[in-house]
């Protein structure tokens, strides 16, 4: 068991180093102007602006963000931004999972609901994020209940949940409907009600379907958070940092990669957290069904 874990960590490190080595290899081998067929560039340029050296990107992380007297070191600024975005993504994920589960339950309970709601669930994902984001923000700013005031980060969390709920709703519905007829008939024969059947049979049976969906939802929530930050202008997170640092894309190209590392970090962390959740549900997982 221990050697297996050590091995998987080793392979993880090898994977990261492999990507870095490939990057440098391509940079060393391919021509500066990339490879073009006719006037179309099929392989990217390898100039230091287009592809900074790995070590330049890493050393840049240990320099301050700007020369301002109180500027943070870049890696710390990225880490703070990553934590901020991860927090919002997590909230979006929780909201998305809850609403996805509720929708799935609704659709499982009433067949009419399924035929009425499912098309809308699918349709909801065809609306581009950049159209939804300003609308959510606009609706939000009109919400004033007592001393409660809608904040920008809430809009971002809602947008993240909008992307996260979809895989959960669809997969949970499949999972809830997965017990074979014989099982449901047995529960019926025991005069078990819908509620008991749900708790004892359908929910446990849905776990193998749910786990991949929760991972997908986590990835969607992260993407949704980063894109929504850019879209509606929430400061403090990775998305905004990517836009801000774009101004130095030519003059300080290594800096523009720092928030991208931050985004990768969020992705890894959220995948890890969901995996942790999966361990808690281990006894229900008899093989996983791809979403």
């Amino acid at each position: 068991m221990r050697t297996a874990r050590a091995q998987s960590i080793l392979w993880g490190v090898v994977g990261v180093l492999g990507v870095a080595a490939l990057w440098e290899l391509y940079k060393a081998v391919a021509p500066d102007e990339g490879v073009t067929v006719g006037s179309i560039t099929v392989l990217p340029r390898t100039t230091d602006i287009a592809m900074p050296h790995i070590w330049d990107m890493v050393t840049r992380l240990f320099d301050p963000v700007t020369r301002a007297a109180d500027a943070d070191v870049l890696w710390w600024a990225v880490l703070q931004a990553a934590a901020f975005s991860l927090g919002i993504a997590a909230l979006g994920w929780v909201l998305g999972v809850i609403s996805g589960m509720l929708l799935a339950l609704l659709m499982q309970r009433w067949l009419t609901a399924e035929s009425a709601v499912l098309p809308w669930v699918v349709l909801s994902q065809t609306v581009p994020l950049i159209a939804i984001a300003p609308l959510v923000k606009r609706w939000g700013t009109n919400i004033h209940v007592g001393s409660f005031q809608w904040e920008n980060w809430m809009s971002v969390a809602v947008i993240a949940s909008y992307l996260a709920f979809f895989p959960v709703a669809v997969s949970a519905l499949r999972g809830l409907k997965s017990p074979p007829q014989a099982d449901t008939d047995l529960f019926h024969a025991y005069a078990a009600g819908w509620w008991t059947t749900l708790i004892r049979l359908r929910l446990p049976a849905s776990v193998p379907y749910l786990m991949p969906a929760l991972k997908l939802a986590a990835a969607n929530a992260v993407v949704g958070t980063v894109v929504a930050e850019v879209s509606i202008g929430l400061g403090g997170g990775i998305g905004r940092m990517i836009i801000e640092f774009a101004a130095t894309a030519s003059g300080d190209p290594a800096k523009t990669w720092a928030p991208i590392f931050g985004a990768v970090l969020i992705g890894l962390l959220s995948a890890g957290l969901v995996a942790l959740l999966g361990r808690g549900l281990g006894r229900f997982r008899r093989g996983e069904v791809p979403a």
Partner: protein
């Protein structure tokens, strides 16, 4: 996920821990929004201050030094205002935010808003903060491009979304139509100048205060030194005669007409903002630092360059900062009526309504400022020399 709790306690503990971690990080996120409130005027400001919000058209940067300096120096507070400065974003249209009630004022370019007004937005330009245009087209000196007429057949970059009108008007005035460009259109430009430096774009759109500096902050691989102005050719729309009015303060026309408090607030807000502009003119280094402290991550030399260039767009002022000059307004409107976009349409098809601009509020603010001895003309304005460092550091 309540069903988990009915199963084994270990499972529940695991899940609760994971969920707890997620929600905890989610809750802590409300503290990290910088720059939402300008300067030190936070939510705990005294109750007698009037809460006012202004929607900017882009991220926190020295382009908006007037507003940030005014907030930081307490000029808004002096007027009895508690101003919240809302930075813009990629998909935020300031005029939409203004008309939907998300902000009391908006900062936007005039041609973009003229289009919105024709679509039904009831907004009024109450102060033309920038007298000059900061947009230009830059090319490398060896590209053979020296004027707008040379753009024919070249790949010409633009950000689009209403930022292209001066470029198109300038080309049109020199007999170049979009059909003369490769592919019959401008090239979509990103937020950086990489495509220009790599040679994918022959003539790139650039603001004097931002993208032009980005090029000058980049190492020229041929010399090993930073690019210099001598390496570049600049087509300045102010000189070509197709400059349009840019950063202006827009207010809600209907509220101006019906709400006396709002009208009074408008004058106060303009007054504070102009004082902020004067401060940025006199103390560019301090103003740049104020903007950086308000949440901008632009490099120090870049921020100072931007402050200095923005000062040049405001000062010296022909008729007082913010006053809308009739001739400039008319020529912007005339170009908006004549300039044909890629779809063959013009920005507007008819003259805008009279409510589209008003000097009433800005003139009142200027009177008060003059009485206070504030130099709103800046006749003796002299820009400073800013040395850009690599990467704008």
């Amino acid at each position: 996920m309540a069903f988990i709790a009915t199963r084994g306690a270990r499972a529940a503990a695991f899940t609760a821990a994971a969920l707890g971690a997620l929600t905890l990080t989610g809750c802590s996120s409300d503290e990290a929004e910088p720059a939402a409130t300008g300067g030190d005027t936070g939510s705990e400001a005294p109750a007698e201050l009037t809460a006012v919000s202004v929607q900017l058209q882009w991220l926190t940067q020295a382009q908006f030094a007037c507003y940030y300096a005014a907030a930081d120096q307490g000029y808004y507070e002096d007027e009895g205002l508690d101003v919240t400065i809302i930075p813009g974003a990629v998909d935020i249209v300031p005029i939409d935010v203004l008309t939907s009630g998300g902000a009391d004022f908006a900062v936007s370019w005039v041609p973009k808003v003229l289009g919105a007004i024709e679509q039904g937005a009831t907004v009024t330009n109450v102060a033309q903060i920038f007298e000059r245009s900061g947009t230009m087209q830059v090319a490398f000196a060896d590209s053979g491009i020296t004027s707008a007429a040379d753009l024919a057949g070249k790949s010409v970059g633009s950000w689009g979304y209403g930022n292209e009108w001066e470029l198109i008007a300038g080309m049109q005035a020199n007999g170049v139509t979009l059909a003369d460009l490769p592919g019959g259109a401008t090239v979509q430009q990103a937020f950086d100048m990489n495509a220009f430096i790599a040679g994918d774009i022959d003539a790139a759109q650039a603001m004097t205060y931002n993208e032009y500096a980005q090029v000058l902050e980049t190492v020229n691989p041929e010399t090993g030194e930073l690019y210099t102005p001598e390496d570049l050719v600049v087509i300045d729309w102010n000189e070509e005669g197709t400059a349009m009015l840019q950063d202006a303060i827009w207010a809600d026309s209907e509220r101006l007409a019906s709400d006396e408090d709002y009208a009074a607030t408008t004058t106060k807000f303009i007054k504070g903002t102009i004082k902020g502009c004067v401060y940025a003119k006199d103390e560019p280094e301090a103003a740049a630092d104020i903007v950086t402290a308000a949440g901008s991550t632009l490099g120090t030399s870049h921020q100072l360059w931007m402050t200095n260039e923005v000062n040049k767009l405001i000062f010296p002022s022909t008729s007082g900062v913010g006053h809308i000059n009739e001739d400039q307004w008319s020529s912007t409107v005339a170009m908006a009526l004549e300039t044909v976009n890629p779809e063959g349409a013009t920005i507007i098809t008819a003259d805008p309504p009279e409510t589209a601009y008003s000097n009433e509020y800005v003139d009142a603010a200027l009177e008060e400022l003059k009485a206070d001895g504030v130099d709103v003309m800046g006749e003796d304005f002299a820009p400073i020399e800013v040395t850009l460092n690599e990467g704008g550091a």
